[in-house]
Symmetry: C2
């Protein structure tokens, strides 16, 4: 079931229809019923409805949480000259043990003879050392920043894992730390969705529920552990051999996963508890990898710009290193960064979950049967759907296309209002709707429409993003025309129709070759930090050098935003 | 119930008498029945006996594990110029947070303004930081080696705990880390006793039981956690505010508590898995103190010389720093150290558990009713017992006294054999016994005797210790007469009658003022290391500079040992 509001009965995403049986009055259901789905007609909110007897229920496809199309390409990572962990094979010099040298002392001396100075044997290693030493002629020690964090048998692979933990989606990568090869990939939904589809609702959930913070931590941690297990399982490997992990996420997901307080993130001035990079023992954290393994989170930049954006900026550092470059990570929260002449400005835009299909009447996530492309011409509507399944709703790129095409066909005006007599519409006011797919052509047996309210949501989202872009350009005293490149990252960003985005004014009007849709750059950055100490340092420098712009504090922001509502 | 052998039916310490009811044949009971307690007379081993119906049982006092007299004095520790953890009170400069600085970054910058450079905020601290910052004007940070490991409210005490984990006894000390004051003390029995009264039996238990190692670890860890809770409870303090802990123990107890392999400790050349000092997160270890607290174990010296001896040598460093000094820590395993002219030699003597009351016919631990002193003169026997309770058996100092007095009265000869007609004896051969307390005067209603076998056990124990002393003196090419001081540490060492020990030849014949019975020096050393980084370094140097002497490899050891059997 969908649950944008976290089960508080307000978002109306989980509508079901009671076909027969119990149909008690909807006392706990606060609102959000669309005009044709009133409780009187049997429609109810699944999150609030408690059946009092046997019932038959119809669950419309758009209420289901289907597997979402996730982007897992990520660039293959390269191993550098500065690996975070290195394996050292050593044959202990047992002749030294005539005097009864303890195993750790013997090994330290053998390593020193080989020119390797060890600072410390980590506690979990000490538990396994003696056993492995007595089974094998050689041992394969894992050395990390001078500490021995693992002991492997000869020939065993040194594994690492990178996780991009988004508000909605999780992407995992299992890597061979020596070759940089991606051994397995895994995509999953962030299970925190059940407690609020955006981060603001999750913060609210924590404020309202005493055990909210620990529950939101544990559901996500459990899911991450499952993903790690599954990736290892695919390759017949043991997660106990993973020595290093990197997790990137926005600041709220980061704080919720780490168990850090989030209350202050929900209140202006949105102060993170933790901004610095975190390097923690995996066992202490609860991540099920090697007992000596370590887990790294890069720097958060601000309350609404987290380590995932740091990772994205790291992955795109070269592309951003010369010229005037705009980099966007579009999602429920959209991060925008402008790099020019050695300066880097970043801001966070409250674009809302419209591009995830939320707050849109027939909106849905990018899963089977979602309309992802729309064309309107000569009074005809053409659509394309994911997996070419019968249409059941609109995902982000579909609704963006629809609005752009409605405007191009002059069915709506620059304010987003339907032009009287331009096309056939149903309903009135904010519910006035254009039928995109008639019920006889849809997969749900109902009309799929775009209403005035939906158009307004897209206007709000695009205005938020464009205003962020405009403010950053103004800060640099630049016009959009001087942009050399526009990098668009993230799953939605990859499927986005650039032309439509330009048409509605979300993106500046530039030639097509200036746009680069690069997929999950945050995941790529995470993999780079998994393999390279230098990349971690570089990420820290990037985060430190960013000039964070709080849009709400910028003079004239409201005017710019209102101006950008026009399409 | 006593259990020297760990319940394997061989030590005969847990004898009970079936008074009525079931009395099935003793098929599982291998031996160790004294002559007057044969299975035929109803005597059985409690560890092996499984009743088949209702029975009435007589449990003799010496079979009970009574609360033992433990020594908890320890010297009060002093705080030095180099504390391990320091509290830093800071009022964050919130004016800096106009730009929305994360809490950790703000705090780091505020600390830097105050001249304090912080390396890292430990993960558990980050969970509490934001909350405390928003409740208090000032925060009290705990800084350890540049890392922030704790966050306290203003005025909260900074606590530390030191534990001396002996084979038989545990001693705990709760300290105020700023003043060095001992806030509470606690003594307890090591619960591992149930799995073997000496370390060799515990190693054997681990070899024989798959879950032995984890069980021996968990019972001890649980007991230590309980002691810590109890000490805090006495002062109305929370164990969650303890930021630092030090535990000292012999190498086997250390390994068992840490979960390190012990198999190789039971086999020549008795290699420790871990010799270096261990500095581990308390949470990772399972010690229930502050989530950011750290736990420290000093260096082990060899397989049978552990961190408790390192601690004892640290505590006696000044006393050993000039002249020729012998230091002994007497127990089931006795460590002997000889310091002279900058050199320090140590050896471990397998003195056995006779001084703990084991392997002695009427032996018992130093608890209520144990005979602790014996005098024989004019054909009369005088005894003194612990707490002046009716005598039920002999503790270590009692049996030592008894043997010395029997020799002085010429009731036994230099070989430990009863001199015919010198005194009335009962029994024959190794069971030939001298009645110390007749049944009508004893607390158990039975004669308390010393038999030839008991005398032999004491001869073995004293020969082991004296041979260690002799070998170390020979290594230094010295005679006992040149000794300036003899330091005797440990609980038994404090109650030991020096005159008797000299008389039977356990200690060299020196004037009384050369002997120093100093109590629990290992506990004192542990407290010193709790408070001072310098003391930890000093302990490391002591351990490193020790020349360990493996007695069994010394030429002529067997001859010296046999010579020392004479009393």
């Amino acid at each position: 079931m969908q649950a944008v509001c976290g089960g508080s009965g307000t978002c109306g995403r989980c509508l079901i229809r009671i076909v027969s049986g119990d149909s008690s009055p909807a006392v706990h259901e606060k609102g959000a019923f669309p005009p044709m789905k009133k409780p009187g007609a049997g429609w109810r909110l699944a999150c609030r409805f408690i059946p009092e007897g046997d019932i038959t229920v119809f669950v419309p496809p758009e209420s289901l949480t289907a597997t979402q199309r996730l982007q897992l390409e990520g660039k293959a990572a390269e191993t550098g000259a500065d690996p975070v962990v290195v394996p050292v094979e050593i044959r202990p010099d047992y002749n030294r043990s005539g005097a009864g040298l303890p195993d750790d002392v013997l090994l330290r001396e053998s390593l020193a003879s080989a020119g390797i100075v060890v600072k410390k044997f980590q506690y979990p290693v000490l538990k396994e050392l003696s056993g492995t030493l007595r089974q094998e002629e050689k041992v394969r020690l894992v050395v990390r920043q001078g500490d021995v964090t693992g002991v492997l048998h000869p020939g065993e692979a040194l594994l690492g894992v990178a996780i991009d933990a988004g508000t909605t989606k999780l992407a995992g990568y299992l890597l061979d730390m020596e070759t940089g090869e991606i051994l397995a990939r895994k995509a999953a939904m962030n299970p925190q969705i059940a407690y609020g589809e955006d981060v603001v609702n999750r913060i609210a959930h924590c404020a309202q529920h005493k055990d909210g913070r620990s529950r939101l931590r544990s559901v996500l941690l459990e899911k991450v552990n499952t993903m790690v297990q599954e990736m290892c399982g695919e390759r017949g490997l043991s997660s106990g051999k993973i020595m290093e992990a990197v997790i990137v996420g926005n600041t709220v997901v980061h704080h919720l996963l780490c168990g850090f307080p989030v209350k202050q993130l929900g209140l202006s001035p949105y102060i993170p508890s933790v901004g610095e990079a975190l390097d923690v023992a995996a066992a202490e954290f609860g991540l099920d990898i090697s007992t000596g393994g370590r887990l790294y989170f890069p720097e958060n930049i601000a309350g609404y710009i987290g380590g995932d954006h740091t990772a994205m900026l790291l992955a795109t550092e070269q592309e951003r290193s010369n010229g005037v470059v705009l980099a966007l990570d579009i999602g429920t929260n959209t991060e925008v960064t402008l790099s020019a002449g050695g300066r880097t400005l970043s801001c966070a835009c409250a674009s809302g979950p419209a591009f995830e299909g939320a707050h849109i009447h027939y909106g849905m996530r990018a899963s089977e049967g979602a309309i992802e492309g729309v064309m309107i011409g000569n009074g005809k509507v053409l659509i394309s759907t994911i997996e070419d399944k019968p249409a059941v709703g609109l995902c982000g790129s579909g609704i963006l296309d629809a609005v752009a095409e409605l405007r191009k066909a002059d069915i709506i005006d620059t304010r987003g209002c339907f032009v009287n007599s331009a096309a056939e519409t149903v309903g009135e006011g904010m519910e006035k709707s254009f039928v995109l797919v008639p019920r006889n052509g849809s997969g749900s047996g109902r009309d799929i429409t775009v209403c005035r309210r939906d158009i307004n949501e897209i206007q709000l989202a695009k205005a938020a993003i464009r205003s962020g872009i405009d403010i950053l350009l103004r800060k640099m005293d630049m016009k959009a025309e001087v942009l050399d490149r526009v990098i668009i990252a993230g799953a939605f960003g990859s499927y986005l129709n650039i032309k439509s985005a330009i048409r509605i004014g979300m993106l500046p009007r530039l030639t097509a070759e200036k746009f680069h849709q690069i997929g999950n750059a945050a995941g790529t950055g995470a993999m780079q930090m998994l393999l390279s100490s230098g990349k971690r340092e570089a990420a820290g420098k990037i985060a430190k050098n960013i000039e964070f712009i709080e849009l709400n504090s910028e003079p004239g922001f409201r005017d710019i935003f209102m101006q950008n509502m026009y399409i």
